[in-house]
């Protein structure tokens, strides 16, 4: 498939089918993504993968651990939480991405940028193989139990989880603003802002 087509047709997938995802494929695509990122030095990024039913269940337990106590979610009935849990546990793979916050001026944004670049390439490589993903940064999952489970250290930043699986139907894309509408040409001293 041509690259521009993959980039424009890739969709965030929120409904997966039950076909399993091989861990070899995940590591292979990930290694390829790191290679394609190719900005010189090795990115300071760590990946944690949950692909077995047991690991998924443990992970989703952690992700949802704050739901019962959380003020925002106090009204959520137990049944809803169970529904959420079973929905996420059924997804074949979860790739957690953690970046090392270095000593650069913006607290590790260089490694966060590397992590994001790699995750985007990984999504594109996956899409080409029929794999769908959802990049998840929901606030509710970013709780202490979850961070402890994935062994987040003081100098590390959680970048996101990619939920991974095959799917039957991709949703329709929501159109983007043309670049021309967000475009200015620098004229030397003062750029005109559109």
């Amino acid at each position: 498939m041509d690259l521009a087509t993959i980039i424009t047709e890739r969709r965030s997938i929120r409904r997966f089918n039950s076909r399993s995802v091989s861990q070899e494929l995940v590591t292979e695509l990930l290694a390829q993504a790191v290679r394609l990122y190719g900005q010189g030095e090795s990115p300071r990024v760590r990946f944690v993968y949950a692909g077995t039913p047991e690991a998924r269940e443990r992970l989703v337990d952690g992700m949802t651990s704050s739901m019962r106590e959380n003020k925002l979610m106090r009204w959520v009935p137990g049944k809803m939480i169970e529904l959420f849990k079973s929905r996420f546990t059924a997804i074949p793979g979860h790739l957690i991405v953690v970046a090392e916050a270095g000593s650069d001026r913006s607290g590790g944004e260089a490694s966060v940028a590397a992590a994001c670049g790699i995750m985007q390439i990984f999504q594109l490589l996956g899409w080409e193989q029929g794999l769908g993903m959802l990049w998840d940064t929901e606030r509710i999952i970013q709780n202490e139990v979850f961070f402890k489970q994935i062994g987040i250290r003081d100098h590390e930043v959680f970048v996101g989880i990619l939920h991974i699986g095959y799917f039957d139907k991709a949703p329709r894309g929501r159109s983007r603003t043309p670049a021309e509408k967000k475009w200015t040409v620098y004229e030397g001293r003062e750029a005109k802002t559109v």
């Binding site: 993968y49 940028a113 985007q120 940064t137 606030r139 489970q149 040409v185």
Partner: protein
């Protein structure tokens, strides 16, 4: 050869040809790149194109390159949203780098310190609620001769930091 098999050169070693980078090509690539995932479809980016035909557009602030693209980003006060927006801009820049390479347009993504300087911010029309996320250095490059393609490439990553949950 498909895009996934290409070797992206180590961007520190890009050698640009001297010709200009036409705006329509950059816009065409960007119009594909904006299909990056971005939460809430906030599209938190904006572009300022800098032609460097005379060679002095940015002074010594950046490595010499035929053109630059300043990628500005909306600064959200909420740290969670801010993180999502920065990630989205990174995905857009990543798309752009991959697409550009298909056209032999080399791109080096930099995050230089001068972008915090109020005077320079003003000269690029950066708003109070924005920051400069990236400055992209761009120029066309000669294709690497086939046999040296792998040696010109970025070094293979030294082992993947991959753990099982």
């Amino acid at each position: 050869m498909t895009w996934a098999d290409r070797t992206i050169p180590d961007s520190k070693r890009l050698r640009y040809r001297s010709g200009p980078v036409p705006q329509p090509i950059v816009l065409e690539l960007l119009n594909h790149a904006v299909w990056a995932p971005n939460h809430g479809l906030r599209e938190p980016w904006r572009f300022i194109f800098v032609d460097n035909g005379k060679g002095d557009a940015l002074g010594k602030a950046q490595e010499p390159a035929p053109a630059y693209l300043v990628v500005a980003m909306k600064e959200e006060a909420n740290p969670y949203k801010r993180h999502e927006d920065f990630a989205a801009v990174c995905c857009l820049v990543q798309n752009f780098r991959l697409l550009a390479w298909e056209r032999q347009l080399g791109v080096r993504a930099t995050r230089p310190e001068w972008t915090d300087d109020p005077l320079r911010r003003r000269s690029f029309g950066i708003r109070e609620t924005e920051s400069i996320a990236f400055v992209l250095e761009m120029g066309f490059v000669d294709p690497p001769p086939p046999e040296s393609a792998s040696s010109a490439a970025a070094p293979a990553p030294a082992g993947l930091a991959f753990e099982l949950f």
